[in-house]
Symmetry: C2
Subunit: 211 residues, 2 copies
C-alpha cells in the first residue's frame, strides 16, 4: 500500500497520528523523572530518546510544545531545573509507565498515581524510578525549538548511569534484553525482544560473523 | 553498577562507545538510500530515526560528521540532493544491512556489495531497498549541526510511504512486527520483537485496558 502525505485530509486525525508514528520503526521506552521548583515530582513516558554521541555522552529527546491547553510539565521542569532522569521501561512496569501519559494536574505526582516508587541516588536532584533496571542522571546541554512544529529537541549529557552488574558484557555492551527493557511501536504498542545475533564490526574485505 | 561519565578514561574507547550506545534503549533500524550527482547509489544502516511529528509528517535522523578521514557519503548525498529513502531492516536482510556499515569507497554501491536490490518507485530520485517491507521517501527540511560534537541532526519530511496492506489496522496502527521489522541495541545487536499489548489511551480517571 502506498500513501502520499498530501492525502492526510482523507484520514481521521487520530488514525493519521498512529500511522505516522509507526513509520520510524521501534522506539526506545523511558520514564522521564523531573521536579519543579516546589520539589513536586513529575514522571512521563517518552519514546524519543536517541543516542547522540559517546564522548561526551549525549542523548537527544523530543518533547511536544508546552501550551496552556496542553501543559507539558516535564518540559517546564527540565527547562527550569536543568536536570532529569531517564529510566528504562520493563515488562513489570509497562502498564504503570503508559498510565503516566494521562494528563494529571501539575501538583499531582505520577509516581503516586501510577504506582511507581521515586528513588534518589547520589544526591541527584531529579527522581529515578526504583522499579527500573537501567537509569541515567542527565543535565540539559541545549534546547532547540524546531521551527517546523515547535517541538523541542533537548540535548542532554549523561552524568551517571546505573545498570545490573550481570548485564555488562566484557566488551562494554550492556544487555538490554537481560535487563528486561522493552521497546515501543506507534503510540501504544509494547514489545519484548529476542536477540537474533550480535554481529562483528563490518569491513569491506571480511565476512561478518556472529559474536 | 554505577558509572560516572567522568570515569571515561578508565575504559577502553571501543568498550566505552558500546556501553554508552546501549543506554538510550532499543533503536529503530533503517537502511538509508541516497544517490550523488553522478547517480551513484549509496546505502547505509542507521539506528537513529525518530518520530518528530505527524502533521507535517517529520522524522529526525542523526548522522556522524563528515571528514576526509571518515567520509560519510550518505550525509554528503543528502545534503547535495535534498532527498533520501528509509527502509526498515527485517530478519531476512539484517546481515546484509549490517554489512553496509563497512567503509566502502565513494564510487562503490553498497547495494551490490551487500546483496540488496535497488528499487525505484514513483519517480523518486533516491533508491529504495526492494527487500524491505516498510519504506519512506523523504525530503530534507533542515540540517542542524550540533555544536557539542559536530553531529548532524537532519529533519526530513515524509513524502510517500509504503507498507504491506495486511499490516494496517483499522485505527491507523501499522503492525511493524507483522512486517518483520527489527530493532537494534548498542552498535551490533539485532532483535526481533514479541508484542505484549497495545494499551488504550491513558486518562486520569480510567483504568487502561489492552486493545
Amino acid at each position: 500500500m502506498k500513501v502520499n502525505t498530501a492525502e492526510q485530509k482523507n484520514y481521521e486525525h487520530r488514525n493519521w497520528v498512529k500511522m505516522i508514528n509507526s513509520l520510524s520503526g521501534f522506539k526506545s521506552l523511558n520514564l522521564l523523572g523531573s521536579l519543579n521548583s516546589k520539589d513536586h515530582h513529575n514522571l512521563s513516558i517518552i519514546s524519543s530518546c536517541t543516542h547522540l554521541g559517546a564522548s561526551p555522552a549525549l542523548v537527544g529527546i523530543v518533547l511536544r510544545p508546552h501550551s496552556k491547553k496542553s501543559p507539558r510539565h516535564s518540559f517546564l521542569n527540565i527547562k527550569d531545573q536543568g536536570c532529569f532522569t531517564l529510566n528504562h521501561v520493563n515488562e513489570q512496569i509497562y502498564k504503570q509507565a503508559h498510565q503516566t501519559s494521562a494528563r494529571y494536574e501539575k501538583s499531582v505526582s505520577e509516581f503516586e498515581q501510577c504506582g511507581l516508587t521515586p528513588e534518589f541516588l547520589d544526591n541527584f536532584k531529579a527522581p529515578f524510578v526504583k522499579e527500573s533496571n537501567i537509569k541515567m542522571a542527565l543535565s540539559v546541554v541545549e534546547i532547540i525549538e524546531l521551527k517546523q512544529n515547535l517541538t523541542n529537541f533537548i540535548i542532554a549529557k549523561i552524568e551517571n548511569f546505573y545498570f545490573p552488574d550481570n548485564c555488562l558484557k566484557s566488551d562494554g555492551y550492556i544487555d538490554l534484553e537481560q535487563a528486561g527493557s522493552l521497546c515501543g511501536s506507534s503510540l501504544d504498542g509494547y514489545h519484548k525482544t529476542q536477540r537474533l545475533a550480535r554481529l562483528s564490526y563490518a569491513k569491506t574485505n571480511l565476512k561478518i560473523s556472529e559474536l
